[in-house]
Structure formats: C-alpha cells, structure tokens
C-alpha cells in the first residue's frame, strides 16, 4: 500500500487525529499524526491485516526549533511496504505516548531520544539515560545546548 492509501484508511478509522499525508519530491512520503493518538494509531498499524507494520526500523527525535519532532520508520515483513509517521510536541512539555509495548525495539530507541533530546515518553517502563552518564545535565542534541565546562573535575 502507498502512503496515500494508508492515510485514507487511517482517516476513516481514527478521524482527525491523522492530520495530513505529505507527498512531495525529496521527501519520503509521510503521515503526520497528533501526539496524543500515537499509541492507538501505531497499535492499529501493527495489528491491521492489510497494514501489518511489524518492524520498527528506526525511531528518531529531531529538534524543530520551538517543537520536538518524533519520527517513526515502519516496515512490514509481510507486505514489504514502508511508512514514515511523524508527530511533534512543544518543547516546554514534550510528552509522547510510548510505543514500547507495541514494538519492543522502541524501548532503547525511546531511551536514546530521551537522553539526547529530552522527549519524555509516557508509559515507558524504564525511561532513564542510556548513553550519557546518569548524572549528566541537559540534552546534547538540542540546538540550544551549551556544553558544560567540566565534568567530575575533567575539562570538557
């Protein structure tokens, strides 16, 4: 199925939570959804017979200036089709429902997104830092991040 067909199918099921489908040159076609509906939509994306997106290729967070974006790259090993799902949340309250219970691979990806960009995933069982030390301050991949002067007495 193409992204447009999936978008129309999701639109009839989930309504306005599925915002738009963008197909334009030099972009992979993607579907933008509302952040509060992420879990339900992802659940139907995985369990629907015709969609069967059982493989989460990648989950990345991006800094969009005022907002933080979360991008899901999905793949179906059954139908061999791909889909990009995007959502975005404001920077002062970056809470996205966790999809860890749908795809277990999201567990570490979400921890990494929390570690480097500070997106909080609601419903994650163990949302702690994964790459940086547990007592590190700040989220380094944000554009406004300032590198600290020292860490444990060592010059950065």
């Amino acid at each position: 199925m193409t992204a447009q067909e999936i978008f129309e199918k999701l639109r009839t099921e989930a309504g306005d939570a599925v915002i738009e489908c963008v197909v334009q040159p030099s972009y992979d076609p993607f579907i933008r959804i509302a952040p509060q509906a992420v879990f339900d939509i992802c659940h139907s994306l995985r369990d629907d017979e015709l969609l069967a997106f059982d493989y989460l290729m990648s989950l990345s967070a991006t800094d969009l200036g005022d907002d933080l974006g979360v991008v899901y790259h999905l793949y179906s090993t059954k139908w061999k089709h791909k889909l990009v799902v995007k959502t975005q949340v404001p920077k002062d309250n970056p809470v996205v429902p966790s999809v860890e219970r749908i795809w277990r691979s999201a567990d570490w990806h979400e921890r990494e997104a929390f570690d480097l960009l500070g997106v909080r995933f609601d419903g994650h069982h163990n949302l702690i830092r994964i790459l940086l030390p547990y007592d590190w301050e700040g989220h380094p991949l944000r554009k406004d991040y300032r590198t600290p002067e020292t860490y444990h007495g060592m010059k950065v």
Binding site: L132, P133, P140, H152, M154, V156
Partner: protein, 171 residues
Amino acid sequence: MGLLNKLDDPYEGGGIVLGKVEELLNWGRSKSDWYLHFGLACCAIEFMAMNASHFDFMRFGTIPRTSPRQADFIMITGTVTFKMADRIKILYEQMAEPKYVISVGSCSNSGGPYWEHGYHVLKGIDQIIPVDVYIPGCPPRPEAFEEGMILLQKKISRQAIFNKRKRLGTE
C-alpha cells in the same frame, strides 16, 4: 642483547660477565613486560591483528593479563569517554609499581577526530594518568605498535633503580 655482548670479555675462560646489577635487572624487566590491554575502540581491532599470526606481539616478551595487579604496563587503545575515565583511573591506581602507560591512537592521545565537538570525549588520557609512550595514528598500523613497544623497552632499560636521580647511559 645488551648483556650477552659482554660475554666475549677479556677474562679468559669465559663464563664471567661483568656488569651493573641495575643493567641486569633492567634487562630482565624490559624484556618481559606483562600488560593490561584496555581495548576501547577501533585501535583495539588493530591490536588484535597485532597479537595474531602475522605480527606476533608476544615476541617482545609481552603476555596479556586481565588483572591490573599482575600488569607492568597498561595499553589504552581507543577513545576515552567521561563515563569510562573514572574506571581507567581506578584500574591504573590498582597496578603495582613500577608501572607504565602506552596511549594508542589519536583519540586517547588528544581526543582525535572527536576533539572539537565531542561533548562526551576526554581530550587526551594524559589529563587523568601519566603517559610514557604515545603511539600516533587513527588507528596506528601494527608496525607503529612495534615501535611503541621498542620505545617503552628503551625507556625501562635506562631507568635507574638505586640512585633515582641518576639516569643510566644508553646501551
């Protein structure tokens, strides 16, 4: 073979070697160094190749140890991050004197390619422990490992043991 060269000495009959005790001790020390391999990143793979068939690191008399208490020198191969730096310090402090450090690769020498924007990379292992030999390269070739080892052996064989202020002449 510094000491054996003295076997053809003026004392007829042979079998008598005249030399300093320090030289004898240093000769033994420098030719049988046991090391703690602290493999961190890419350089560790080159060091594995160095240990294997073609280059055979053990011909320098080195034996890999997994415990710092049995090691004469520590070989730090790879990028040192802040999360790791504390552990390296602990391991170094556990080693028995006399102890030496070889820093392998640009990353552990100075931060290497991660020098400028590496918010989590220690810019040189010499910020936390003293280094005796630096081996440059990213990663160094096995030949560079060999030279680094020879340099360390030279350094050990010149060290004074009894009168610490004096440095022994070159062999």
